[in-house]
Structures are given as C-alpha cells and as structure tokens.
C-alpha cells in the first residue's frame, strides 16, 4: 500500500493548490456583480428564449457504444500483459475475440449508427461556386440566383433555376434576398 503514498501526497498538493488559489482570487478580486454580468454569455445578445430542451440521440448512442468498447478494451489489457506466456494460443483467442468485435462494429457502421454528417441529399447538389482557378487563389463569388438554385423551389425564383427534386424542404428558411 505504501507505494500509493506519493499519489496521495501529490493529489493533496494539487487539490490544495486549486482550492487555495480559487479562494485567494475570491478574496483579492473585486466584487460588484450586476445582472448583465451574471446573465448567460451569448455574445452580447440578450437571451430571450429557453435553451434547447433536448440533445440529439446520437450522443447517447455514442456513450452506449463506448461502454461496450471500453469493456472490450479492458479485456485486452490482461491479455497483452500475459501475451509472452500465452503465445500462439493467446493470439488465436484474441483473433476470435476481434472477430466478435469486428462483427459488432460492421453492424454499427452498416446501420449508420455512427454517422454524424449533416443530412445528405440523394442527388448531389449542383456546384454553385466555381473551383479555384490556376491563376488566382481568390474564390469567385457566385451570382445570387446561382446561390438559390440548389436550395429549394419557391415562387418567384428564377425560371432557369431547376429545383433539385429531392432537396430537403425547409419552409421556415426563406433566404432574405428574395421575399423581403
């Protein structure tokens, strides 16, 4: 047990340091709070609505998958320590274990459980900016109607701009350049 003494000593030192310095700064620093200072920081905009109530289920899913991977990794360590004694038998065991892990992993990936990307379109969106040219490193700014072309169909849009058939509809987001 004695070998853990240094950890305990260092932990006490570090915790003490953090506590004392926090305390010292509270004593030394000025104290004149007001409502603007204690409001949630949102880059100067006064928050007028409650923050989002829920988080995407992906985060939960990742944590859940991690629990299982963590257990699998924990299994690997005793194996790794003893590997030089287990020899090829150990390798065979680990190959079998890895196959189980791989099958689970393939299931996850092929089910799209680990996809975080923005919602993708079935048909690729048209290119609305030209690629860089060899002569200049400045990107060309597209014309406004070209910007709208790939987004969504709406009345008043330019007739030569074909609406992408499978573009996700977002009725709330009318670009400011057209309607108003």
């Amino acid at each position: 047990m004695a070998q853990y003494l240094p950890i305990v000593v260092l932990m006490v030192l570090a915790t003490g340091f953090a506590f004392v310095s926090l305390l010292a700064s509270r004593i030394l620093g000025p104290k004149n709070p007001n409502s603007a200072k204690s409001a949630p920081y949102e880059c100067g905009i006064v928050p007028n609505r409650q923050p989002a109530q829920r988080f995407p289920v992906r985060f939960y899913l990742v944590a859940m998958i991690f629990v299982i991977f963590d257990i699998e990794i924990i299994f690997i360590y005793p194996w790794a320590v003893m590997y030089h004694q287990l020899g090829t038998f150990g390798l065979a065991e680990m190959v079998a274990f890895s196959i189980a892990v791989l099958v689970a992993f393939l299931y996850l990936i092929s089910g799209g459980a680990l996809d975080w990307g923005p919602v993708k379109r079935l048909s690729p969106a048209e290119i609305i900016t030209r690629p860089y040219t060899g002569s200049a490193t400045i990107r060309r700014v597209p014309r406004p109607e070209a910007l709208l072309a790939g987004i969504e169909p709406m009345e008043g849009s330019a007739p030569d701009a074909p609406a992408a058939p499978s573009a996700p509809a977002e009725p709330d987001r009318v670009p400011a350049t057209t309607g108003h």
């Binding site: 944590a63 005793p78 189980a100 892990v101 689970a104």
Partner: protein, 179 residues
C-alpha cells in the same frame, strides 16, 4: 523478518483500517445523498463518489486491476452515459424538478431488506475467515494473474462473454435507433 517487519505490517494494517472507514463513511454518506437529492445531475455525481469509493476499496484489497476497471467502466463510461441520458431526456439546464414520489417508504423497506440479506449472507459465508490482502510482489502483478485466469483457465467463458457483448451492442443500437 524480525519484529520490525511485523510492526510494519501492523502499522500498514492500521492505515488500511483508517482508509477503509474513511472510504466507507464517504460512500454511505454519498449514497444517502444520492437518493435524497432532488437534482438528477447531483444524484449522478453522488453515485460517482460511491463508485470511486468502491474503487478505493478494491485498491485496499490489493485488487488494482478491478479498481482500474471500476473507474474506467463505471465512472468513465456508465455514469457519462447516464449524464448524457439526463441531458437527452430532461431539460438539461432546468433545476429543481420535484423528484420525490410517495413510494419512498416502500423503497426504504426494500433497501433495508436487501441490506439484511446481503449482510447475513456475508456473515454466514465469511465469518471468521481471514483473507490475506497482500499484493502479489513476486515479479508478477495482479493484472497478469487475471490474464492467466481469463485467457488460460476460462477461455470458453471469455469467448462467450465477447458474444454477449456483441449481442448487447446490437440490442442497444436497435433500441436507440428506432425511437
């Protein structure tokens, strides 16, 4: 091995006793606070303290690898999962929800019953047994001993466990995806 060594072992034992009671006290207090607090995140944190205390007890019993597993899996993964679950379902920034309900006496009775059963079982099973909690020092370590027993003596259970984990993963994803 003279008297000084024995005295040393004795001194260590006293230190272990003190550490045990400090840890156990902290665990009991946090466990009580965990069920009485009205803030879900606080409850999760008190649970973390209980789990960390259990890890400390494992270290006192010279079972370092179990202690590491306890921290990595329970504190590092499962409580994080719980916190994500809280963020996911409850208003994450809202405090002061009323978490009490009128079943607490029933829960208390069940908890006491469980405590009684476990206590009696431990008493019957280990009464008077002296368990030597002295770390393995002859070149090997606890982890190595566990490695031998998992990968040499209990190979089939280990592979079955890996299949079990596979099933758990698939099940978790199926449940979470079709919400």
């Amino acid at each position: 091995m003279g008297g000084s060594h024995l005295a040393l072992v004795h001194g260590l034992n006293v230190a272990q006793q003190i550490a045990f009671f400090a840890l156990a006290g902290a665990m009991v207090l946090s466990a009580l606070r965990m069920v009485t607090t009205k803030n879900l995140v606080h409850a999760a944190l008190y649970l973390t303290v209980v789990l960390a205390g259990a890890a400390g007890l494992y270290i006192l019993l010279a079972a370092e690898f179990i202690a590491v597993t306890q921290v990595l899996v329970y504190i590092g993964a499962i409580v994080v999962l719980m916190l994500f679950g809280l963020f996911l379902t409850r208003a994450p920034l809202g405090t002061g929800q009323d978490l009490d309900n009128n079943q607490r006496w029933l829960a208390a009775i069940i908890a006491l019953f469980l405590f009684g059963v476990l206590g009696v079982t431990l008493q019957k099973g280990f009464k008077g047994t002296h368990v030597n909690a002295i770390p393995i020092t002859d070149g090997g370590s606890n982890t190595a001993a566990i490695g031998v027993s998992i990968f040499h003596d209990f190979v089939v259970p280990f592979e079955v466990a890996s299949i079990l984990l596979l099933a758990a993963l698939v099940g978790a994803v199926v449940i979470a995806r079709r919400d």
